[in-house]
């Protein structure tokens, strides 16, 4: 009997200890949970509910079922914005990918000079998208912009032209700005991918008779697949959410041709005050992003196994 008690006691004590630690753990995670509940879970549920209502920002809501979604698929302006966002994503992603790989291979050496160049190429990343947009908007102003005047003096283009009034030139300027601002980050991701490949692997291929290009294409590139997936996802997710650069540099123009999906949500909710409709558009955007995330997981998991 006494033996039983003495044996039971430490177990009982450990159990209580575990419960106390669990309680402490719960208490420690309360701040994070409060924030997530208040600013993530609640608004997320709110979005779903609001998307089913006709909800003017300052009036009282009324339930309309799936009408907002039906309207979204008939809304020419929204469909055009979705099309433009996809177009923008499809254009900028390969540009970023190729340049990121090029830059990474250019500065991959562990020398001091290469490191300085890495720092320089990465510098625009810490500048905000908004700040970058303001700078490039000024650079390409007609007559007074430093870049337009410079290229005009060289006779390459007409400096009196308004480059933001034409879709293609406005689009090219935004793509240039985003590339300048983001490619350093992608370069860094590729660099860390390259550096995680042991030198022996490529050396072995070279000893087996592969030339530099073959070693690169058959050894390095396949091993960089996880990195590739990552760079792709960063670029795709970022481009699908594009807003700042178009809001500041083109204001969605000329004539609404550079409005993006997020821009349309902003306009529906905070310019036209159709909160319910804006929520429905948000849900559609979230579905696309979820698909992208799922694709990312799939790509990364596959590469882990192989």
């Amino acid at each position: 009997m006494t033996e039983l008690i003495t044996r039971a006691r430490p177990r009982f004590g450990r159990h209580r200890m575990a419960r106390r630690r669990g309680l402490l753990g719960f208490l420690l995670s309360v701040p994070a949970f409060v924030l997530l509940a208040l600013f993530f879970v609640w608004p997320l549920c709110g979005t779903i509910y609001m998307s089913l209502t006709d909800w003017p920002l300052l009036g009282s809501p009324s339930f309309v079922g799936l009408e907002n979604y039906v309207q979204a698929f008939r809304d020419g302006q929204f469909l055009q914005a979705v099309g433009f966002t996809l177009f923008y994503t499809i254009v900028i992603t390969p540009i970023l990918l190729v340049l990121a790989f090029g830059l990474a291979f250019l500065v991959r050496r562990r020398t001091r000079a290469a490191r300085v160049f890495q720092t320089v190429y990465f510098l625009p990343v810490v500048i905000g998208l908004a700040s970058g947009s303001y700078i490039w908007q000024f650079m390409w102003q007609s007559d007074i912009g430093p870049t337009t005047t410079l290229l005009g003096d060289l006779g390459i283009l007409d400096p009196t032209k308004n480059f933001f009034a034409n879709f293609w030139s406005a689009f090219a300027i935004v793509v240039g700005m985003v590339t300048w601002k983001v490619v350093g980050l992608q370069m860094l991701l590729v660099l860390s991918g390259i550096q995680s490949i042991p030198d022996e692997v490529t050396e072995a291929a070279r000893i087996d008779g592969a030339n530099a290009w073959q070693a690169f294409w058959h050894i390095t590139v396949p091993l960089l697949r996880p990195t590739l997936a990552l760079v792709l996802v960063f670029s795709v997710a970022g481009s699908l959410l594009a807003f700042d650069q178009f809001y500041i540099m083109t204001v969605g123009g000329p004539s609404g041709s550079t409005l993006t999906a997020v821009y349309e949500i902003y306009r529906a909710g905070f310019v036209q005050f159709h909160v319910g409709y804006a929520s429905a558009l948000s849900i559609l955007l979230m579905l696309v992003l979820a698909l992208v995330s799922a694709g990312q997981m799939l790509l990364l998991r596959n590469s882990d196994n192989s």
């Binding site: 630690r21 994070a32 810490v126 000024f138």
Partner: protein
């Protein structure tokens, strides 16, 4: 005979041709490498030069002049407040939560961890409309604290993610040793865990600071009073002129004031920043 002669001669020719070529391929690409790298560096730095070229004492005086409506110093203060508060909240909440998930498991902690990571997939742009209404309901509409809390929430998963390895790698025995020495669970966390987690913590702090400092969308929508605007949003107003024109000199001066703190912080703490980015992305 002639065949063997030509054969050997071609081989030696090849060797002769190969030798100087080898050296040349060494010198030439080296020079080409420098040229390409420097040209690219000029391209990358050019926009920053354009920005700096517009910064004159007159423009600085004008953007800091509060009698024009808003002063850039006020926006600078707002930005600093939002960024510091958001960073502090992210760091504290994510460290505590991460520690709990790793070392003090309780019923439901796995679910909690999972929910946190889901936030990763949903950017706040997607739920901005209800966020606006939630902030109105709890009285934080048009309020810098509200913006900071929203930004902190959406940086939480990053923080929790970045510190994942820090806590998991510490053996529990180390913590138990600290407790045997008389420290409480919290004391053990403070003394044993925090020093080990420091690099992850610094990276988290840096990334959330940059995200908050450069945020445009949240401040644009959640703040309606222009005296409360953060720098990226106020630049548009600072550079607006009465005749609907834009004063680009003032604009670039405002941009310079926004950019300088980021560049300085980046150059000083580059190591942590890069480690954080890679850690967040790759691990």
């Amino acid at each position: 005979m002639t065949a063997t002669i030509t054969a050997t001669s071609t081989i030696t020719d090849q060797i002769h041709r190969e030798m100087p070529k080898r050296r040349r391929t060494h010198v030439l690409p080296r020079a080409a490498w420098w040229v390409v790298c420097i040209c690219l560096a000029v391209l990358f730095l050019y926009p920053i030069g354009v920005m700096l070229s517009q910064v004159t004492p007159g423009n600085v005086a004008k953007v800091t002049d509060a009698s024009r409506g808003i002063s850039v110093l006020q926006s600078l203060g707002n930005s600093a407040f939002v960024s510091c508060l958001a960073t502090a909240v992210t760091v504290v909440a994510s460290t505590l939560a991460r520690y709990a998930f790793a070392k003090l498991p309780y019923r439901g902690s796995r679910v909690g961890f999972f929910v946190t990571l889901i936030t990763f997939m949903v950017p706040f742009q997607a739920i901005i409309t209800p966020l606006y209404i939630v902030l109105r309901q709890i009285g934080l509409q048009n309020n810098l604290v509200g913006v900071a809390l929203v930004l902190a929430t959406f940086n939480l998963p990053l923080g929790i993610f970045l510190m994942r390895n820090s806590f998991a790698t510490i053996p529990t025995s180390l913590e138990e040793a600290a407790q045997l020495d008389g420290a409480s669970t919290l004391g053990a966390m403070w003394r044993v865990m925090l020093p080990v987690a420091a690099p992850g913590l610094v990276s988290t702090a840096l990334l959330s600071f940059f995200a908050a400092w450069n945020d445009f969308f949240a401040a644009l929508i959640l703040i309606t009073d222009q005296h409360l605007y953060t720098l990226p949003v106020s630049i548009g107003i600072l550079s607006a002129q009465p005749n609907f024109g834009i004063n680009f000199g003032l604009m670039q001066t405002g941009v310079m004031i926004t950019v300088i703190p980021c560049v300085i912080v980046y150059l000083v703490l580059q190591r942590y920043y890069v480690a954080g980015l890679l850690g967040g992305a790759l691990k």
